[in-house]
Assembly symmetry: C2
Homo-oligomer: 120 residues x 2
């Protein structure tokens, strides 16, 4: 785990060239983490505060999920004051695993729709 940017507040992350497929797939293989990734994708590159995610898990569980995503190289985290700000590493993932994130996000949307009861 190394830091590949000279950027204050950046939390440790793997450099783009060292992203491991198994770690990325493992990070994505969880419904809470998929929701985090889908929300970050929907933010279009904007940083989102960890506190902005309304998910039905405890704060410590959420912190764990963010760490798994960061250590796999799926997200980038900066400390800003007492907050942690998150972005998706879209370019790094696309360069190393072309099409993978898009396919996972599209599948996640389809599954969410299919699992949701139809509106009346």
């Amino acid at each position: 785990m190394t830091i590949d940017h000279d950027c204050p507040g950046l939390l440790p992350e793997p450099p783009a060239a060292e992203l491991r497929l198994e770690a990325v797939l493992h990070a994505l293989a969880d419904p809470t983490r998929l929701r985090i990734v889908a929300e970050l994708a929907g933010a279009g590159g904007d940083e989102l505060n960890c506190l902005a995610f309304e998910l039905p898990v405890t704060k410590s569980t959420l912190t764990h999920h963010f760490r798994v995503l960061r250590e796999a190289g799926v997200i980038r985290q900066h400390r800003r004051g007492t907050s942690k700000m998150n972005t998706l590493r879209v370019e790094d993932l696309a360069a190393r695993f072309p099409g993978l994130l898009d396919a996972v996000l599209a599948a996640a949307v389809r599954c969410t729709r299919a699992d949701r009861p139809a509106a009346r």
Copy 2:
């Protein structure tokens, strides 16, 4: 876990419409299982016997990996005599999660190449 084909010897598997993204990603998030999937993809639809896979794991570990793949819906397994024959559920995966298997297989090939020492 249900059987969606009236086919003797078919081992239990989820029907195509019930494949879960998290389960598929989890099944793929392992280097041994990725190698199995890559070999089956390379077989172009042919059935491969479990014994045909030369992987550096024990027989019981290999059996476990095949079961994880089958229960996630990534592979189909038939008993034929004392053998288990395996195929990749390419069409089912493509219908439910378009582009996902292709992106994972392409990424697996890239990673294998990158990890291998250059030939001299």
